[in-house]
């Protein structure tokens, strides 16, 4: 690093106690403190500039085209044709337009699957984010062992999903599960976690929150690290309580990272099928079926795969993610302009 590029950073973040400020301050979201002319936001016009930018983007664009275009095209193609196992192998399925989508909409599973997908996604997302953020703030205090404990939080991610989901279904087993035996010793009646239609969705939500918390913790923790200590020092001198400091400094400054965490969390949660599939197979009686498990059930969960409708359900999920992506883009643009 040269001194010329470094000095503005120094000026920007007066570092009173020499604490870690290697990470950048999230300048753009802090107009209150340091209003700047928009020309400094780094949106320079010019053709040469655009070319340079695309040079940086070229590898990833090529990569996307190479590895995602074909599967995406294939999923679309599967959903628009009348695939039987025979035509899947021979590759001569007739084009049937939106017939598969109509089949899916008319299916009695559609309405419950939609409701479960929404409930599953919203509840998981809320708890994963809230718990992840609380833990990130907690671990950001750098007490003894904090780094090690934070690392241990990631251990669930090292396990293949087949193992972690099976462990959950083991613990939640109605008769020999540890959860019910603990409830029993506390004098609470056992719950049929996985085998009762009124509990199965709750059970898979709990397991999925467990899986999702470490992701939120790590990403939000990195976000916290990027907030300069000096801001807290200043607020502390003003006599702001910890609660106030969180709402007036941490939360607003974390907004871009929060937004992307939630968006990614949404995409991943919509897509979750392994956990539910291993724990309940979407049952009993469709009570924990979401679009993702339904899509898998249709396409692969049967001796005779129905690729067409399966892909159609999958594409509905892609469409849902598209909508949320658009919302994100719009919000982000508004934020950038404000």
């Amino acid at each position: 690093m040269t001194h010329t590029t470094q000095s503005p950073e120094r000026r920007l973040v007066p570092d009173r106690n020499g604490a870690a400020t290697a990470a950048p301050p999230l300048a753009r979201t802090r107009p209150r403190r340091r209003p700047r002319p928009r020309s400094q936001l780094g949106v320079p016009p010019g053709e040469a500039w655009g070319r340079a930018a695309w040079a940086f983007l070229a590898p990833v664009t090529l990569y996307l085209a190479l590895f995602y275009a074909y599967p995406l095209y294939r999923n679309l193609d599967l959903s628009l044709r009348d695939y039987t196992v025979r035509s899947f192998v021979q590759g001569d399925a007739p084009f049937t337009g939106l017939a598969n989508y109509r089949t899916v909409f008319d299916d009695p599973t559609f309405a419950p699957a939609l409701v479960h997908t929404v409930v599953f996604t919203v509840v998981c997302l809320f708890f994963q984010y809230a718990l992840g953020l609380a833990l990130a703030v907690f671990f950001n205090q750098n007490f003894r062992l904090s780094a090690t404990l934070r690392a241990l939080f990631l251990v669930p991610w090292l396990l293949p999903l087949i193992v972690s989901a099976s462990t959950w279904s083991w613990m939640l087993n109605s008769d020999s599960g540890i959860v019910n035996s603990t409830l029993h010793s506390l004098g609470i009646a056992p719950v049929n976690w996985l085998t009762s239609p009124s509990w199965s969705l709750t059970s898979v939500i709990i397991a999925n929150i467990w899986i999702g918390v470490p992701f939120n913790l790590v990403v939000l923790y990195s976000g916290l690290q990027s907030i300069p200590e000096s801001l807290y020092e200043a607020a502390s001198l003003d006599g702001a309580s910890a609660w106030r400091r969180f709402w007036s400094i941490t939360f607003p400054l974390l907004r871009p990272v929060s937004a992307i965490t939630l968006l990614l969390g949404l995409v991943y949660t919509l897509k979750v099928f392994d956990i539910i599939w291993i724990m309940t197979k979407g049952g009993p009686a469709d009570s924990s079926t979401t679009f993702a498990t339904w899509s898998y059930q249709l396409g692969f969960g049967n001796l005779l795969p129905a690729f067409g409708p399966g892909a159609a359900v999958g594409n509905l999920l892609v469409a849902a993610a598209l909508v949320f992506g658009l919302i994100y883009l719009k919000v982000q643009r508004k934020q950038a302009l404000s």
Binding site: A285, S287, N302
Partner: protein
């Protein structure tokens, strides 16, 4: 889109990939494709991942290869994965030379045009028991030969029955079985465990009761069918069977039985070896039919099939390989390792001679019925899916047995 257009697109993608991948791929690795393999290498896919490279099974395959003068490349898949992998490989023109699959999948693969018939591949199926071969037949053609068979029966724990004062000889029909379960429960033990999970396993386990009631797969909503499902439902309601059966795989159900608390467990031939290790005295009886006699149980076990190849010259060697795998001596060894019953009477007799405990199982296999038999073929998967859904709905209490089976039948149509 037709095949050539798909090919073009793939080719375009592939060329592009090749440019970049060339940089990352220091070694392109050994090709596993049958097309890429030379005429001296033959591929075999099986659903036995539990057997590694040093197992007897792998050695048997290599031995048969050596006998036929070719090298064997074996890949083992999880059985639930194998259907999709086989379809995908066939779509890409990369089918294995020999494919060993679960028997109800044969009709699906045959329907897909993936498999050759015995007319083409010249396999000799004359010695195979007809009821076992039926699972591999559809539309008057035979698509493979069974490597071994298994079926379901009731294991019982002698100590538990003794404690409850139940004589196992008294269990002859559903009524006496239920009475025995009631006694067991009174004695403070647990009645029966089975698997009613929402997959093919659940249907497999329900079928002996379904068929034992006199019901037919073409009419899921018959009164007999309702009576079979009501039997299970009733057991759960009275606490004779644990609630966990709704989510039990056959392995989980076996683990429950192995805990030593249960009087009965519905499970398969393949658990014999584990039963010996369980540490208590056990016995086996056939699943009783509703009003006495033995219920027909479904046949389990795998078929050896020969997928279609572009180069029809390969079939001659493949035929040699399959004959080697299914000759009497090798069947005996394989089925002993798998804890299966052999598909031919000759080998079955040898098995019983070597291990008298197999006797009830041989009888059960001889009386068993293929799931895709009765020319149901690819209709079976749809029926089966609705059946396990109905079982799940009824047992979990979200619908009555009658309503559950009623909506199952209307969904099949």
């Amino acid at each position: 889109m037709n095949r050539s257009a798909r090919r073009r697109l793939t080719a375009a993608v592939v060329t592009a990939v090749a440019v970049t991948a060339g940089a990352t791929a220091c070694s392109s690795g050994g090709s596993s494709s049958a097309k890429g393999a030379d005429s001296k290498t033959y591929t075999i896919w099986d659903p036995y991942p539990q057997f590694d490279k040093t197992s007897d099974w792998a050695k048997l395959l290599d031995g048969c290869g050596t006998e036929a003068g070719v090298k064997i490349e074996r890949t083992a898949f999880d059985t639930s994965d194998l259907t999709n992998k086989a379809l995908l490989a066939a779509q890409q023109g990369n089918s294995a030379d020999v494919l060993i699959v679960d028997n109800p999948v044969v009709s699906t693969l045959a329907e897909a045009g993936v498999l050759t018939t015995t007319d083409d591949n010249k396999l000799d199926t004359s010695k195979v028991n007809p009821n076992l071969l039926a699972a591999g037949q559809s539309g008057g053609k035979t698509y493979g030969t069974p490597i071994g068979a298994n079926t379901l029966a009731l294991y019982y724990n002698k100590a538990v029955l003794k404690k409850a004062g139940v004589d196992v000889a008294s269990v002859k029909d559903w009524k006496s079985l239920t009475a025995a379960l009631a006694k067991v429960k009174e004695a403070g033990k647990k009645g029966i465990t089975f698997s009613a999970i929402g997959t093919e396993e659940g249907s497999f386990q329900f079928l002996p009761w379904f068929w034992g009631s006199g019901a037919k797969l073409t009419a899921l909503d018959s009164d007999q069918a309702v009576s079979a499902l009501s039997l299970w439902k009733n057991w759960l309601g009275k606490g004779y069977a644990p609630n966990s059966v709704i989510n039990n795989t056959q392995t989980t159900s076996w683990q429950e039985f192995a805990s030593g608390d249960y009087a009965f467990a519905e499970n398969g031939t393949w658990q014999l070896a584990n039963a010996e290790k369980a540490g208590f005295q056990y016995g086996v009886i056939p699943v009783p039919a509703a009003s006495g006699g033995d219920a027909a149980a479904p046949t389990g076990g795998e078929f050896v099939t020969v997928p279609v190849q572009k180069d029809s010259g390969r079939y001659a060697t493949t035929q040699k390989l399959v004959s080697c795998l299914t000759n009497s001596q090798n069947l005996l060894e394989t089925d002993t390792t798998l804890s299966y019953v052999a598909p031919t009477t000759e080998v079955q007799q040898k098995q019983v001679a070597a291990n008298p405990k197999l006797k009830p199982w041989v009888a059960a296999v001889q009386a068993a019925k293929g799931r895709t038999s009765d020319d149901l073929g690819t209709k079976y998967p749809k029926i089966s899916e609705q059946m396990w859904k109905a079982v799940q709905s009824a047992l979990s209490g979200s619908a009555s047995p009658k309503d559950a089976l009623g909506s199952a039948q209307s969904a099949v149509k």
